[in-house]
Point group: C2
Chain length 307, copies 2
C-alpha cells in the first residue's frame, strides 16, 4: 500500500455527494403481459441510490475511512429503515438531511440479466445549496469529494467550490452553464457512454470515440478520465496514456451498481496516490465483481488487497 497523497492524515476524509434512497430489486423470470402477473423469484430491499452505493463501496475498500454521505432521505418509515442501514454500513450520516418521501428505485431484473429501472426521486429528495452549505465543514476538510451529477448543478457547484482541499471526482453528466466550471474543478471524470456524449457533445460508440472524448476532457486540472463504451468495456485515460478494460466473459446477473463500484475503485486509487494504470485496474475489478450478483450492491472487501 502506498503512503497516500495525504500522509499526514491518518483517517483521510472522503465525502460523497449524491442520491440516497431505497432500492427495491425484483428478479422475475420474465415481464408479464399487460393485464397479467408474474411471481417474484427474489426480492432485495435496502439502502440504495448512486451516492449511497458509492459511499458503501468506498467504505468496503477503505476500512480506515468513514465516508461522509451528503444526501437526502425521507422523513418517513422507509427513510428510518435505510438511515439505520447507512449507519450500520459504517457511513458518516451527519449530513444526511431528512425530509419528504424517500426516493425509490425499483430495479426489475429478468432471467436474461436485463434490467429495467423505475425511478421515483421526488423533488424534495434532491440536494439544495442550503443542504450543501450545512456540510461546509466536511467539504472544506475533505481529501476526496465525489460529485454524483444526478443532482441540481447549483448544489454540486457549491460543493465543488467549498472542497478547496480535495481531489474532486465527477460521476455522470451535467449540462447547462455549470458544466464548464464543474469540469474545470474536476480531477477525475467518469461517465458511461450516454453521459460522455452529454458531456462532450459527440457519440461514444467505439473505443476510438471514447479515446477522442477523453482527450478533450483531459484538460487543465483533470488528469484521469474513465469512459464506458456500451457492451465493450471501460477506457481509462490520463495525460500521455490510456488503457482499455474490456467487460470480459463474466456472466452478468445484474449490471446495476457496476458504475458505482467502478467509482469506488477510482476513489480508492486516487486516495492512495496510485498510478492511473493501477487505479483503472482496481476500478474495473470492482465493477466486474458487482455485475455477478443480483441487486448491484457493492461487496468489495475482497478487493482491498488490490490497493
Amino acid at each position: 500500500m502506498s503512503a497516500g497523497a495525504h500522509p499526514q492524515a491518518i483517517r483521510p476524509s472522503i465525502v460523497v455527494v449524491g442520491q440516497a434512497g431505497r432500492d427495491l430489486v425484483l428478479r422475475v423470470d420474465g415481464l408479464p403481459d399487460a393485464g397479467g402477473s408474474a411471481p417474484v423469484a427474489e426480492r432485495i430491499e435496502r439502502l440504495g441510490g448512486k451516492g449511497a452505493s458509492m459511499a458503501i463501496g468506498i467504505r468496503q475498500l477503505n476500512p480506515d475511512v468513514r465516508p461522509t454521505l451528503l444526501a437526502v432521505l425521507g422523513a418517513d418509515a422507509a427513510g428510518d429503515v435505510v438511515h439505520r442501514e447507512a449507519v450500520a454500513a459504517g457511513l458518516d450520516v451527519a449530513h444526511v438531511t431528512r425530509r419528504g418521501r424517500t426516493a425509490l428505485m425499483v430495479d426489475v431484473v429478468t432471467a436474461d440479466g436485463e434490467r429495467r429501472l423505475l425511478e421515483d426521486a421526488p423533488a424534495e429528495s434532491l440536494l439544495t445549496v442550503d443542504d450543501v452549505e450545512r456540510a461546509s465543514d466536511a467539504l472544506e476538510r475533505a481529501h476526496v469529494v465525489v460529485l454524483q451529477l444526478q443532482q441540481p448543478a447549483t448544489a454540486l457547484l457549491a460543493a465543488a467550490r467549498m472542497a478547496s482541499q480535495a481531489r474532486i471526482v465527477l460521476d455522470g453528466a451535467v449540462s447547462g452553464r455549470e458544466r464548464d466550471e464543474l469540469l474545470a474543478l474536476a480531477d477525475v471524470v467518469r461517465a458511461d457512454a450516454h453521459e460522455a456524449e452529454l458531456l462532450t457533445g459527440t457519440p461514444i460508440r467505439t473505443r476510438e470515440d471514447a479515446s477522442r472524448a477523453a482527450g478533450r476532457l483531459l484538460d487543465g486540472r483533470t488528469t484521469l478520465v474513465a469512459l464506458s463504451v456500451a457492451g465493450e468495456g471501460d477506457l481509462v485515460a490520463w495525460p500521455g496514456g490510456e488503457e482499455f478494460h474490456p467487460h470480459g466473459e463474466t456472466e452478468i446477473v445484474d449490471a446495476t451498481g457496476a458504475g458505482d463500484a467502478f467509482v469506488a475503485g477510482l476513489v480508492t486509487g486516487v486516495r492512495h496516490g496510485e498510478s492511473p494504470q493501477r487505479t483503472g485496474q482496481l476500478a474495473a475489478d470492482c465493477a466486474a465483481a458487482t455485475v455477478q450478483r443480483l441487486g448491484g450492491h457493492p461487496d468489495l472487501e475482497a478487493l482491498r488487497a488490490g490497493v
Copy 2:
C-alpha cells in the same frame, strides 16, 4: 335499508380470510426498454392484498361493522406500517398473525391503464390451519365469512367448517379435492373469467358461457353466483334469474381492486338481506367506482346510500 338477515345483531360480525400485505403502485408513462429507465409519475404504497382490500371496502360500506381480517403480515418494518394502517382503517386485527416477510404486490400501471403485477407472496405469508384455528371464536360467531381463495385450501376449508352460523362468500378459484366441499359450503360464489374456468372446467368467453357456468354453480346451498366476462361485464345469477352488468363507458385508470370492491358490495347486500338484483347492482357500482382511481384502493363511502 332493510332490517337485515340478523335483526337481533346490532353489530353483525364479518370475517375476511385472505391475503394482506403491501401494495406498491407505480404509474409510469410507459415501460422502459431492457437496460433503460423510466421516471415514476405517481407512487402509492400502502396496505393491500385481496383480503385486506375487501375488508376495507366492507368497512366503508358498513360503518357499523368492524370486519375481522384473518391474514398474515410480516414481522418486519413494512409489516409494522401496514398493520397500523389496518387499525386506522377500522379493521379488527386481533387475528392478523405476524411472521416472516410482508407480502409485496408491485402494480405497474402504464398511461393506457394497462397493469402488470409483480407479486412476492412468501410461503410464510400464507394462512395455515393453525392460524385459522386460533381464530375459531371469531369464525364460529360470524354472520358472514369471505374466503378469498388464493390461500391454502386446507386452511380455507377449516375456516368454512368452523363458520357454521355464517353465510359464506367464496372469491376466486380453487382446485383439487377441497373444491367440491368448499363449493358445497358456499352461499355466494364470485369469480373472474379465468377463475370461473378453473372452478367449472369450461372457458368463459361470452355472457352465455357465464350463464351456463353460473347454472352449474347454483346448486344446493349456493344461491348467488357472480362471474366476470373479460372485457364485457359481470353476470349475477340466482335461482330463477340473472342480470348482466356491462362494464360501461367508465374510463379505466386502473383495474386493480375492482374485484375486491365487487365482493365488498356482494357482502353488504347479503348482510342486509337485499334481493339478488340489488346486491348485484351494488357490487357492480362498487367495482365501477374503483377502476377510476389509481391503485384500486376502495373508496366506497358514497355507495352506502345504495343499501
